[in-house]
Subunit: 632 residues, 2 copies
Amino acid sequence: MRHSIATVSLSGMLREKLQAAAAAHFDGVEIFENDLLQFPGTPAEVRRICEDLGLRIDMFQPFRDFDGTTPAQVARSLERAERKFDVMQELGTELILVCSNVQPDALGDVDQLAGQFHQLAEHAGRRGMRIAYEALAWGSKIKLWSQAWSVVERVNHPHMGLALDSFHTLSLRDDPSGIARLPGEKIFFVQLADAPWVNTDVLTHSRHYRCFPGQGEMEVTKFTAAVIESGYSGPLSLEIFNDEFRSAPARANAVDARRSLLWLEDQVRQSRAKDAPPCKAPLFAPPPAPVLTGWAFVEFAVDPAAGGRLAAWLKATGFHRIGHHRSKKVDLYGQGEVRIIVNLEEDSFARSHFEQHGTSACAVALATPDVAGALARAEALLCPRVNGRVGQNELTIPAVRAPDGSLLYFCEAPQGGRYAFEADFVMDESALHGGVLGDTARFDHLVQAVPAGQVEPWVLFHRAALGLAPERNVVMHDPYGVIRSREIESTDREVRVSITVSERDNTSVSRAVSSFRGAGVQQIAIAVTDLVATARALKASGALLLPVPANYYDDLLARYDIDAGLLAAMRELGILYDREADGGEFLHLYLTPFDDRFHFELVERRRGYAGYGAPNAPSRLAAMAQWRQAQQ
Amino acid sequence: MRHSIATVSLSGMLREKLQAAAAAHFDGVEIFENDLLQFPGTPAEVRRICEDLGLRIDMFQPFRDFDGTTPAQVARSLERAERKFDVMQELGTELILVCSNVQPDALGDVDQLAGQFHQLAEHAGRRGMRIAYEALAWGSKIKLWSQAWSVVERVNHPHMGLALDSFHTLSLRDDPSGIARLPGEKIFFVQLADAPWVNTDVLTHSRHYRCFPGQGEMEVTKFTAAVIESGYSGPLSLEIFNDEFRSAPARANAVDARRSLLWLEDQVRQSRAKDAPPCKAPLFAPPPAPVLTGWAFVEFAVDPAAGGRLAAWLKATGFHRIGHHRSKKVDLYGQGEVRIIVNLEEDSFARSHFEQHGTSACAVALATPDVAGALARAEALLCPRVNGRVGQNELTIPAVRAPDGSLLYFCEAPQGGRYAFEADFVMDESALHGGVLGDTARFDHLVQAVPAGQVEPWVLFHRAALGLAPERNVVMHDPYGVIRSREIESTDREVRVSITVSERDNTSVSRAVSSFRGAGVQQIAIAVTDLVATARALKASGALLLPVPANYYDDLLARYDIDAGLLAAMRELGILYDREADGGEFLHLYLTPFDDRFHFELVERRRGYAGYGAPNAPSRLAAMAQWRQAQQ
């Protein structure tokens, strides 16, 4: 289908917005009036810029509070409309969005409204313009799409139709399914927005929290499916009011915008009945989301000095070097199915990543039985493919670029504990087994620390390119500020990742982000089968387990019936504990971090515990801060 | 009265929190359990730290979900309470906060509750402990102070009393006045918090938006007055859950906390009937808030190079040098009642301000008929007085330090257009009159740009020290992000200031703040009597008026009936226009800024226009961005 975007959705001055929309291959734009008012040139110049960029101006918007209680008011509104038709004529667009009246004296009577809108449609017709009437969720009287439709139906004029906006319907939890039975040609325009569910009034919700489809929690697919069933074949457009987007780089955000529409079309296509008639405009059909069997490795970028420190830290954490690359300065560490790559190559992507971000994870890898399919899906969803070698000396595992510029590799799932990519390495078979984490060790989840405003792009990346689903939003208290995280998982929970963000400067997340201009992987959680035994072995080998205060365990004792032996062991080893209502138990501990940058967590899930130990976050974050202060 | 603070209100590890509370001269603290759990030492060590700091531990909190539907549940709760009594014994405190149950199976029957709480009171009594029972606004059954009181009254046990928290009562818009009729000795503890009114659920409101009394919008004075009338003589304590405070520097925030309680006591004292009986604990009685007649001057800190540029910029804006200091390198600019001081002295506060912040306003001055009284008030409200000379070569006008370290001077109001402080200057009488802004020019308002998290401290500073009142909260859209502002005014509107903040990096506010490590005055608005004439004269003199796009005026024409001549003049001169519902009109224009730092606005208020032209903010901010980009 054609894709459009309202200029209000993107940051910057009008020209920058239009350039960003064109660069992301949008077909058209809605010109938001404020953007035009601020443009230091004529509407005709805007038209020329759009023509040069290959953008159609699909609509001019918004026109507010049209209807009135007195003939003088209506006459004034019609006069105001004529002035806007003048502007539209110069802009070269013939569609205007008229939203329902929010004034205290707004009309609610359909006949009265239809009478006044018929006049407006007549005026529009004489100018070759068309009216798209939209029910604002906070309109004084007209709030629902069905009410707006009653007016449009009664007006019954070729220059008057409906504008639909998913947010206005979904935010009121109104049912969109009846839209499927509308005559598609009377739907003049469709705007799409998602949003998280936030406990606030609908106007505040709309003005600050909208986001692109797939980034929020609303049933945008269901809404859009109903629109498609009506026979609507116009553009799908995005109208997003979002405080973050107002400051987000317009180019990257416009790509996210397009990605969201492609994802949405794919979702709608999949949701359609097998015997549904073909759509008037065909829906986007990318390769299916890949089956993912888990995280395969994390690759660290270092230089020789940092490489020595990192190797020592990995060894203290129980990791041994199990291989070195046949031709490159790349070391492989591993236990069980967990692999850590340490990339020391000069003139490589890793080295330039190191130069920009310091010692950091420059790449992560996911295992899949269908590497080619996974790549094709990601590319179709606008993730740039990195072809084999970025620099001269790269691993040749195929990859795409993640939102922060790091790499996401796809590799084949391990067979008998061995990965296909290990063929590139000279392996030390003796080091491969008997590690302290055990032969069943595997990645449980990764935690990525991202700068403020970057959670939504990461959510959409994981959802659209990888088919993962965003789950819980969690608020955590670092001693020095609030940290928020969004947990993202595959349906079978084989792949889990948590995206964390902190608005203020002194938390562990913001230190990692600000010291290194973006952070990436901050926590690597590894699942083991017997955490107490593993922790004992680690401690015996001299690993630095993060100490947990005795008061924590006194409180555990007050809260839970816990086996005295287990409690004593947890107290001795710094193991944290959580229990879910259905009896699932979570034991986890943390190793001391590498700089302020990243650290390992070891976890043991009992009886299907589903979470990430969030109730222990304050204790863990305080223990980290305590440890850090003690080092200084 | 005694002042206490819950450790959750301050940022950092427990020891830092306690040190900050002691440094701000709090008498006591509430130990928030999570802070204790994270403390790497015993409760006895916490007790010793508090003793060393001169802090009493007034309460341990919270104990949640005590009551139960089965005898086994109650027995488990009593056992849990005994474990907490153990901790309290070590801490050396005898009061525990028990908040109302939020579980689905919480009890609502007063008799049943009283029976279970009687058991708890008995347990407490045997340990020498006391129970303070608090109704959480989101408790499953017990939500109101009056319900909690019913339980306490029924229990009728010397070891069971009430805990009151202003937020729980005021957030539900419940009436606190009945608290005045409670027996004061049965109120065991009082917590105070203010908050802005936010459209969200009460739990979210409480967890993220609480602030110190005077920083928000709730009737904390009315609540506290009722508490005082009951005869309560225990501590006034602050329990603040606030996302900003979790990352705010603990020391400065603790001073704000104390300031809020001093302000609140003063407010309560003033609100009491003249014939009211004396309070058990006397209420704080500082000097009254000063009468303020307006802003008097803004002082800029420069070095010689910047001084030359600033002088040229002031001249281009129509300002002439009207005097130079008798003994210092300080120049005075002025027109009407507006004064601008340019401080070039080496080895001065201004110079060190310049070295830290670049060319910036290092001080502002307020005019008052009672300089000594204004100073005494500010000092009593914990604003550090700056005695005469900060460095060697300062103006000797008395001042206090503002929240950002800049100075706030108090000086006498002008007589016949002349200020007393001008006696320090050799004045050029000829330059004093006939300036382009006219002899009636005066400061209309100032706009301060502050870093994220600093709005609340500034609001409290203005409210407590100066007696100003916080008014509207405004959201403005810069092309590169959201800007929020809080307008603060004297009752007679002679003094107006707006505090602005931007969370993200690219707005005009955040550029000013981040480039200069704090910004201070960003906009100086001057009221003139005939803006069109003034603008014409300025333009003729070569001043750079900020251009406004023609599209803005085409839209004005569509929206308002405006005199064609006025519209043409506004279009020619870049004058923006706003009209209030009651007919008040606002004409205003902007001059091009000095660097990204500060700029002048000229305003004309007609028929009592009360606002600041907020509807024009997007146009003004876009025009600024446009101008800035054109310079590059």
